[in-house]
Every structure is written in structure tokens, then in C-alpha cells.
């Protein structure tokens, strides 16, 4: 099933990750697909990875931590071979991220404008 979010859809690496165990994304990966995962982590968990990893579109140590925390909060665990969340973007992870990002994209933008004023 193709990815639904505007952020992820039509990205070959992410589409592959969503259907193939062999296409999972982990430490050392780099490219546009990793950058989109960085964006998703900011949208969903308000977590920004290390600036160097961000600019290099690199799945480095801070991305590892952010992904692991993302999965832990949502209890994304492959119980067939795991007892706790790992730090790999697997089929279950990308599906969850895609679902959440698509939901966020469909919501009206909320903007708290109590802060906007001039005197």
C-alpha cells in the first residue's frame, strides 16, 4: 500500500521501506529519504536532530536516539523477535510515521496568535 502523506509519498526509498524488510533505514543511511524522516520527527515529536546530520541528510547518532524515542513512545516493537523498541526505521515505523504525518497534514493549521500584538 503506497504511503499517504505528502511528505513521504513517491519517495522510492521510503515506499520500499514500507513494504520490504530488506529496505529498512538505519544508522549510516543518507539521502533525501533520511531528511524526510528528520522532518517527520520534528512534526510529530518536536525533536530536531543534530544540525550536521540534518544538513548532511544523514542517519547518525542523534537520529538513532530520536527514532528510538519515537518508537518507544508508541510501543513499536516487533514482538516476533524483540522485547523492546530498536532504532531502525522498519515497515512498522514508516507506517506509523506516515499515518501520523498524513493526519497532521489534513488538520487545519493551528496558530496561537495570543502572542501577536503591537503597542
Amino acid at each position: 500500500m503506497p504511503l499517504k502523506s505528502k511528505l513521504f509519498q513517491n519517495d522510492n526509498a521510503l515506499e520500499a521501506c514500507s513494504v520490504k524488510d530488506t529496505a529498512q533505514i538505519a544508522l549510516g543511511a543518507s539521502g533525501e529519504h533520511v531528511s524526510k524522516i528528520h522532518t517527520a520527527l520534528l512534526i510529530l515529536d518536536d525533536v530536531s536532530v543534530d544540525a550536521n546530520e540534518l544538513s548532511a541528510m544523514y542517519f547518525g547518532p542523534s537520529t538513532v536516539v530520536a527514532v528510538q524515542n519515537y518508537k518507544r513512545r508508541r510501543r513499536i516493537v516487533n514482538f516476533s523477535n524483540q522485547l523492546q523498541s530498536d532504532n531502525i526505521v522498519c515497515k512498522m515505523t514508516i507506517a506509523a510515521m506516515d499515518r501520523e504525518v498524513a493526519a497532521a497534514e489534513s488538520l487545519p493549521i493551528h496558530l496561537d496568535l495570543d502572542g501577536v500584538t503591537s503597542t
Binding site: 502523506s5 505528502k6 511528505l7 533525501e32 531528511s35 528528520h38 522532518t39 520534528l42 512534526i43 518536536d46 530536531s48 544540525a51 540534518l54 544538513s55 504525518v101 497532521a104 497534514e105 488538520l107 493549521i109 493551528h110 496558530l111 496561537d112 496568535l113 502572542g115 501577536v116 500584538t117 503591537s118 503597542t119
Partner: protein, 284 residues
Amino acid sequence: MAVTIQDAQLKLMITDGDVKPDVYINPAGHIVCHLTKGFVASTFPKDQGDALTAVAHAPVSVGHGDNIDAWSFGFVQIARANFYGAFYAGRISREGSVGVLAHNPPALASPILLDGSGDPPDPFFQDPSRTSYLPPMLHTSWGDHPAVRIPLTMPNPTTSGVKNHLFQFIFDREFWTIYTSKDPAGAIRYIVHFHWKVRYDVELLWRNQMPILRRSKSDFSMVSKNVKGAPTDSDLQAMLASPKGARANQTFDSAQTQAFRGARGPNRSENPQWFTTVPRDFWG
């Protein structure tokens, strides 16, 4: 004989020595550009002190049978919003950029605004009851503190709603503050004025997800003092002829709200890539 201000002996004293444009960055979500003196971050926009003040001491002669209590004396203030731009960017170019402009239509129909503090009667900036009359002198005080608060982040709908971060804010305004009388029939006479400018112009960068002031080119300047009569700028004449209507703070707050929240268009652009003006190192 009517009530007559002795213009030649009128003294208008302006205190602006401690005015210093600055920016308060609240990492929880906004910045406040202010003029330092009288600024109270914890209560803004309420309970702020005046940054600059003025007092007019005007000798007045009152004709036999005339009642000075039927006259009003005070300051009228006209503001001109020259530019208001808040510019946001994603962490990388692919996360987009947002520009908010609030000084132009449709958010702001006219940049010329009748200013006011509190809820004074037209056309005054503050309630004319601030004027005291100790024969033969009228004493009228005035004070202001133009400041502005805006959010540090803006969601960008063109890039999945990801937060874009403030990297530049410019708000340029001019003010004409005019000592004015209003007779019992409502006739207005502009007696003397001063002209001043406030430009907030700040650039931020972000480190470890925290905003830091990179540069401030903010400026306060007193353009002219003790100028007899009304301002002569052509774009002010309509307001000077009919100084009434909504006050600048309400009008401009509404313009800002529309610019930030209203439809995309002349007052807000949302882009899938960075503006060319985004500094490469703004996020780190």
C-alpha cells in the same frame, strides 16, 4: 476674547535619552521588540512604562466670560506603518519559508493611523483630563512605548505543516505627536509637534533549537522637535483634517492577525523552499 494659547511662550519638553531599542527573546514562543525603558517582560503588553515622555507647558489667556473647562488640550498622535515583515524558514531549504507582511492591503487598508493609548476621546492620544490648569499655565503630559510581540515559529502548510523558525523581523514606524486644542464647538488647532521614528530590525539564528540574536539594526530617532503647527506631510493631511476612527493599536493588531492567520496572498507567502535571503548558517 476666547481662550488663547500663547504659542510663543509654549514650552514642549521631550525626554528620550533612555530610549534604546532592544529585543526580548522568550524561547517559549515569542520575541518582544521594545525600547528598554519601562519595558516589563512578564506583563507585556499590560502595565508597561513609557519609554519616552513629553510635557507641554502652555500659557493661556482666558477671556472674560469664557470657560476653559469647555476646552480640551492634549496630544494627538498619528502613526505611519512603513514596513512590517516577519520572515521564517525551515531548518533546511526543503522545509520551506514563510513571509508575513502586515503593513499593506488587504490586512492594513491605510498605513496612516490615529494612535491612542487606552480609550481616549477623539482625537486625543490620551485622555485630555491629563491636562491640568494652574492659571495661567496649562500642563499636559504624554508618554508612549511602541513595542511589538510576534511568534518565534510558524507552521508551513506547503511543507506538511513543519515549523518554520523566525530569522528576521522588521517593523518600521513613524510618529507625529502634536500638542492640540479643541474648542467647545469641536474645532481642532494643532499647535506644535515633534516627529520621531522607531525601527525594529532584528535577525535571529538558531542553535540547539534555541533562538539567539544574531544582529540588531534597530533604531530610534527624533526627527524634529518643537515644530510649530501641524505636520506638512501630504499623506497625513486627510487624517489631520478628520482625526477620528479606530485607533492604531486595534487596527494594527487586526492587521497582524489577518496577516498571520488570513488567506495566503499579499500579506503572507508560504513557500516550499527557502527565500534566497535565508542565511545559510541560520540553523545549527
